[in-house]
Subunit: 170 residues, 2 copies
């Protein structure tokens, strides 16, 4: 197959754009990792502010939501489907003990390693295709709602909760 210079240039543009989005996701991960590494397991069981979610809940929530990108981007199955009910479908509840802080810390690392492998294996053009949460009809009208857009959205979501978790930093 002969690849024209123009096609190479279009691929380079897409790779650059993917790099922008993925590097911002990585930056948010670095910040969150830096924070939770500093928080003790006891601190992770505290609410981030009076009457607000506990840090353990926010970490479980971020794992469950980001894990949901795997099927949404057509990459495979969730690693931790059991976290969806306690950490997304339901509010924080100290009476429900589904996972320890240590388990969630390990799951967070495992998930990010898996997502990195998945993202690195994606063809640049695949990022600009339809994700499984939008209909063919709507995607035809709004092609910006593609897979890469999901990662932009989830990065913002993570920044939102990082702004809350940071309140536990002493």
């Amino acid at each position: 197959m002969i690849i024209s210079e123009e096609t190479k240039s279009a691929t380079a543009d897409r790779q650059l754009f993917i790099k922008m989005v993925v590097s911002n996701w990585e930056l948010q991960n670095q910040r969150l990792n830096g924070l939770i590494d500093k928080l003790s397991d006891d601190q992770m069981l505290q609410p981030v502010a009076a009457e607000k979610n506990r840090a353990i809940y926010l970490l479980g929530h971020l794992i469950a939501v980001n894990d949901g990108m795997i099927p949404l981007l057509g990459l495979g199955e969730r690693l931790f489907p059991e976290l969806e009910t306690p950490f997304v479908k339901n509010p924080d509840d100290v009476a429900i003990h589904t996972a320890s802080v240590a388990e969630l810390r390990a799951s967070w690392i495992k998930l990010n390693n898996a997502l990195t492998v998945y993202f690195n294996g994606m063809d640049p053009s695949d990022w600009f295709t339809k994700h499984s949460g939008i209909s063919e009809e709507n995607f035809a009208k709004e092609p910006h709602r593609n897979k890469l857009n999901i990662l932009i959205n989830r990065t913002n979501h993570q920044a939102y909760h990082l702004g809350q978790l940071i309140f536990l930093k002493s």
Copy 2:
């Protein structure tokens, strides 16, 4: 000038990327607007949590930081340079009264209207050029650190503080 089909296609790709980033910025603005419209001026003078920043400080901070995009993207001069010192260079201080809540609400709207006009007037290719905060040398090595990347970064920054401001929602 004759524009080839390939050039048109590259421009369409870039327009799609820009749409993705700008629409996520607009989404964060909508969420922040929806929240601060619901908060009274009295609530805006409250800290978002015990011993944390007041909402007025966070709003001033977001205005000052986002206003900084205007010179950073080579679009012109800041609209509110006087907010840099009290809301970025210094921490929240109830003793310093530089702007009323009403003034900041108006400045926020004025800034977003101005940014929208600026963004709409930018040529798609301009978003992928160097911003004024990076050297030619570093940009040559890291071309993903372009103007559009600034908007991705500032959108995450805004989401981070929205996650804090939401604590005042009753």
